[in-house]
């Protein structure tokens, strides 16, 4: 251990300005805190509903008394495919989002010794964000979605998010930094900086999309209908879209659910424990390694897919390297509590933190493990992933948010917490709830993964019938319902406790006036600590003093602009290393001559597939794994997805893969299966879609859809001429409807939504076995073989 007692020996030279008086804005923190817990309860409730939807279909069939719950499985706006995005968006953006805003607004002011720069921006941020949440709550059940996980919200909402995040939140935060009265920035602020700049970058680049309404107005020459204003397509397609999506998706976990919560931990944990943070130099090294390494890890969501192998390998390796940077945060959190464990035993708030940080440690070990390809080949598409994210979201984000809420409540409402017993009860409900949830779903996930790949001794799949593997999960699904319900009850107790504490607030909040000198323009950094290196060159001594001992970082900590630029360099350079080759190297996506654009009707059907959220349960990506090709057919090739805006590879197989669904069933089977899957597969847990057989298909909008694809580079030829696409769609619909009748199917399907979805489903994955078109437009570069 190096120096001791050098604390006061180098007095920095600085000029300070006049003493200033200021009060903190706690009103906005109170609002964010309430919003977080209220929306948290909503998010948990929707989660429990979704969990019930997966568990209940067999019970509905056998228990007459439950039949009134049938609506959970056949109501268009309540179906799982729409409820699941509502749940994830509410949990991430409404619950965790508002919690992290509360944490940032409370701690930033105190760490900067400055009120937020603009109360107006604080309030615009608060109300703007709640408006976004309400828009999400309305639009997602209506099926208005971009079809990319955690980036479902349509473009007008995306624009709102960009404005609120950058212009309201970002500007307010960075101006507060600029006006701060504390010379150096504490580690929590570093994490907030990384959060704000990175989320802005991720959000903008993943959500670049082409709106239907604009295409209709400026290309098609058509007045958009109301719904057309809320439909857009990703500008990226197939492999590239998948890459961008998981670059975004993974880093949403990193920079929305990890970095701000580490910042939260760094402020609220030492506050609650009344202990110094364990290690400043660990803060430095784990902050920078986390920020730099996290960005690369996204492709681990796409192992064994049509993504080029080098990208997938980088995703795995950077995830493995991320293990220790993540644990740096856990170590700093848990070791801060050294000598305070007696307090932990007595104080439920600290218990929330300890268990929360422990879940963080478990998730960030599990994450690298799941990203190892061989583990991932088992875990991918199973509930194992779902258990993993819930250990993180409920355990880490949830418990930390609750711990913060209980610590803040008496301070914000200036009244003692209403019931300490309820706080303790909440802690146990939440902890046991999470334990039931994740242990149940781990077991279910691994079980199903093993069943999918099991062969018997004669070389045939041991569980060839997919629904058999689903039935095995039922007990685990009910355990999840119980665990989730306990967690929900805990959330309700928290809300109750907050409301009652708030009700006991003083008539007028007391506002403490603080005093601190303004920062003067001059600051001379204290000299570096002496080096212990003696027998070496001056250069080595210099490096040791300035860099290895972290002196340079202390200098950065008083320069927010420079600090932010280094964060930007870290995240941009890491991103570009993967993005540039993915987009520029043609051989990453070998084209296949026989793969042609979707017909206009199929395109319309694809948009229905997206709107119904089919990708929430069905993947469209068969991996080159023997058990998988045995079950679903030939593995997926990158060139098959070049016209897929957005990609629909999915991440979970609650139902079977659909990549080669085309032609596997008759038209009649598909239509009856959509009407009610259980009339064909009694054990199916898929929702019923009777509305698709009744709702009229909007043929008029199809021209705009085709024009939009053409603008994105899909070769549609003549079909972009006015009305041609609609004609073609009607012709195909008639043909399909006629065949349906010939198959003794329903007679009046020709103008219904179901016919378009049928067209799309019957097309899926069939191009690869067709001969290439008669007159090849381009020299044939066709290759069905995938190279890395």
């Amino acid at each position: 251990m190096a120096s001791d007692g050098s604390t006061a020996s180098h007095s920095p030279h600085q000029e300070t300005g006049p003493i200033e008086r200021f009060v903190y804005d706690d009103a906005v923190v109170r609002k964010f805190l309430f919003a977080s817990i209220i929306f948290g309860v909503v998010a948990f409730l929707v989660g429990v509903i979704a969990a019930i939807q997966l568990a209940i279909p067999p019970a509905l069939a056998s228990v007459k008394a439950l039949s009134w719950l049938e609506f959970l499985t056949n109501t268009s706006f309540l179906n799982f495919g729409r409820i699941r995005p509502l749940h994830t968006n509410a949990a991430i953006f409404a619950f965790a989002g508002n919690a992290l805003f509360a944490a940032i607004y409370y701690s930033t002011q105190r760490l900067c010794k400055a009120r937020m720069w603009s109360d107006k921006l604080s309030n615009l941020h608060f109300w703007g964000w709640q408006l976004i949440v309400v828009c999400a709550a309305v639009s997602l059940p209506l099926g208005l979605t971009q079809g990319k996980e955690y980036a479902e919200l349509e473009w007008p909402v995306d624009l709102m998010i960009a404005v609120v995040w950058v212009a309201f939140f970002g500007v307010n935060f960075f101006m507060t930094l600029a006006k701060r009265r504390e010379r150096h920035m504490y580690v929590a602020l570093w994490f907030y900086i990384a959060t704000i700049v990175t989320v802005a970058m991720l959000h903008v680049f993943n959500n670049l999309s082409l709106p239907l309404a604009l295409v209709q107005m400026f290309k098609t020459g058509q007045t958009p209908a109301a719904a057309d204003w809320l439909k857009s397509w990703s500008v990226y397609s197939g492999v590239q879209d998948a890459f961008m999506q998981w670059w975004y998706g993974h880093n949403a976990v990193a920079f929305f659910l990890t970095t701000p919560f580490l910042g939260l931990m760094y402020y609220f944990l030492p506050k609650a424990a009344e202990k110094p943070v364990y290690s400043y130099r660990l803060s430095i090294i784990h902050f920078w390694s986390l920020v730099f390494i996290y960005i690369w890890a996204g492709p681990h969501h796409l192992h064994y897919t049509a993504l080029p192998q080098w990208a997938s390998t980088l995703g795995m390796l950077f995830s493995v390297m991320l293990w220790m940077p993540s644990w740096g945060g856990m170590i700093n959190g848990l070791l801060t509590l050294r000598g305070a464990w007696n307090k932990v035993a007595a104080d439920p708030i600290l218990k929330f933190y300890v268990v929360g940080i422990t879940f963080y440690g478990m998730s960030t070990f599990e994450g690298p493990m799941l990203s190892v390809k061989s583990v991932n080949s088992l875990s991918h598409y199973t509930d194992w992933t779902i258990a993993h994210v819930h250990a993180g979201a409920l355990g880490w984000n949830g418990l930390l948010s609750f711990g913060m809420a209980y610590w803040l409540a008496p301070r914000l409402f200036q009244a003692p917490i209403w019931s300490k017993k309820l706080v303790a009860a909440h802690f146990w409900l939440a902890t046991i709830g999470i334990a039931l949830y994740v242990l149940g779903i781990y077991t279910g996930g691994i079980t199903q993964g093993l069943m999918w790949r099991a062969f018997d001794e004669t070389g045939r799949l041991q569980y060839p019938d997919f629904v058999e593997t689903v039935m095995t999960l039922m007990p685990f699904y009910w355990i999840r319902v119980i665990g989730g319900t306990l967690f929900l009850v805990g959330g309700i107790l928290c809300l109750l406790n907050l409301v009652m504490t708030w009700a006991a607030r003083p008539a007028k909040y007391e506002e403490t006036v603080h005093e601190a000198p303004a920062l003067g323009p001059v600051f001379i950094d204290p000299p570096p600590q002496p080096t212990e290196i003696t027998a070496s060159t001056e250069w080595a001594k210099d490096v040791d003093q300035k860099y290895i001992k972290g002196w340079f970082h202390r200098v950065w900590e008083r320069k927010p602009a420079k600090f932010t630029i280094w964060v930007l360099i870290a995240i941009f350079s890491a991103s570009l290393f993967e993005i540039v080759p993915t987009f520029l190297i043609k051989s990453n996506v070998p084209t296949i001559a026989s793969v042609q654009p979707y017909t206009p009707l199929e395109l319309a059907g694809r948009d229905i597939y997206i709107a119904e959220g089919c990708y929430n349960c069905h993947s469209q990506m068969i991996r080159p794994i023997w058990a998988e090709t045995r079950r679903y057919g030939e593995y997926s090739k990158p060139g098959e997805f070049v016209y897929d805006h957005p990609f629909q590879w999915g991440s979970r197989r609650i139902g079977p893969d659909l990549a080669r669904e085309g032609g596997r069933q008759s038209h009649d089977w598909q239509i009856r299966h959509l009407e009610n899957p259980r009339q064909l597969i009694p054990d199916s847990i898929m929702p019923a879609y009777p509305h698709l057989l009744k709702d009229a298909l909007n043929f008029e909008s199809i021209q705009g859809r085709v024009d939009a694809m053409a603008m994105l580079g899909v070769p549609y030829g003549d079909l972009v001429q006015k009305g041609k696409a609609i004609e073609a769609a009607k012709a195909q619909a008639k043909e399909l409807a006629d065949t349906l009748v010939a198959q003794q199917g329903y007679a009046d399907m020709g103008d219904k939504k179901a016919i378009a979805l049928l067209a799309y489903l019957q097309r899926l994955g069939t191009d690869i076995s067709k001969p290439p078109p008669a007159e090849p437009a381009k020299p044939a570069t066709a290759s069905a073989e995938v190279t890395k």
């Binding site: 943070v277 364990y278 130099r281 070389g459 045939r460 064909l680």
Partner: protein, 192 residues
């Protein structure tokens, strides 16, 4: 332990920081993961002889086909071959796997028929003799109600699947669908 802690002069809103060294095991594992990553990348991404998921899949396919079909070789789609396969327990077993992953959604687990025809009775719509089963599986039938499976299964697989389907005739399903089509004579007796 606390004695050795070095408390820095940093203080923010009452929060102080120790400047404890990072644990040695932390450094060791971090460096180990970086070293592992370096070698892993070089081996798997810069080595032209490293296998790929696709090459391993192709090897698995070859090995499986060899294992399953080595005893019978390439199968003809004629009546005699199908008849022979109807007596080959091993092949029927493999084909049952195909049937269960592909056919049961329409024809039922025991062949009794759901949306598709009952395969257990003596009535057939598109089959007059054994090799017609192969043809229906290959080309589909009934305006696409029965899809074509020639892209999903190779010839050998379709031949043994036809044999398996033929053996369903005469079994007793739990909920048989009414017969469709015309009765046809029984399958020929197995050779020998």
């Amino acid at each position: 332990m606390a004695v050795k802690d070095f408390l820095s002069d940093h203080e923010y809103d009452g929060i102080r920081e120790y400047d404890n060294p990072t644990p040695g095991w932390w450094h060791a594992i971090f460096i180990a993961t970086i070293a592992f990553s370096f070698f892993y990348f070089v081996y798997w991404e810069m080595n032209p002889r490293a296998s790929t998921p696709q090459s391993r899949w192709a090897a698995a396919q070859t090995a499986e086909y060899k294992r399953i079909f080595s005893s019978v070789g390439d199968l003809q789609n004629d009546e005699a071959t199908i008849l022979k396969m109807m007596g080959n327990e091993q092949m029927l077993n493999v084909a049952q796997g195909f049937y269960q992953s592909t056919c049961i959604q329409c024809h039922g687990k025991d062949g009794g028929g759901i949306n598709g025809v009952n395969l257990t009775d003596d009535n057939y719509k598109n089959v007059k003799k054994l090799d017609d089963i192969f043809n229906v599986i290959t080309n589909g039938a009934n305006a696409g109600v029965m899809p074509s499976w020639k892209n999903q299964f190779n010839q050998n697989e379709r031949v043994i699947l036809a044999a398996y389907v033929a053996t369903l005739r005469g079994t007793k399903p739990a909920a048989p669908k009414a017969p469709e089509g015309d009765p046809i004579p029984p399958w020929p007796a197995p050779a020998k």
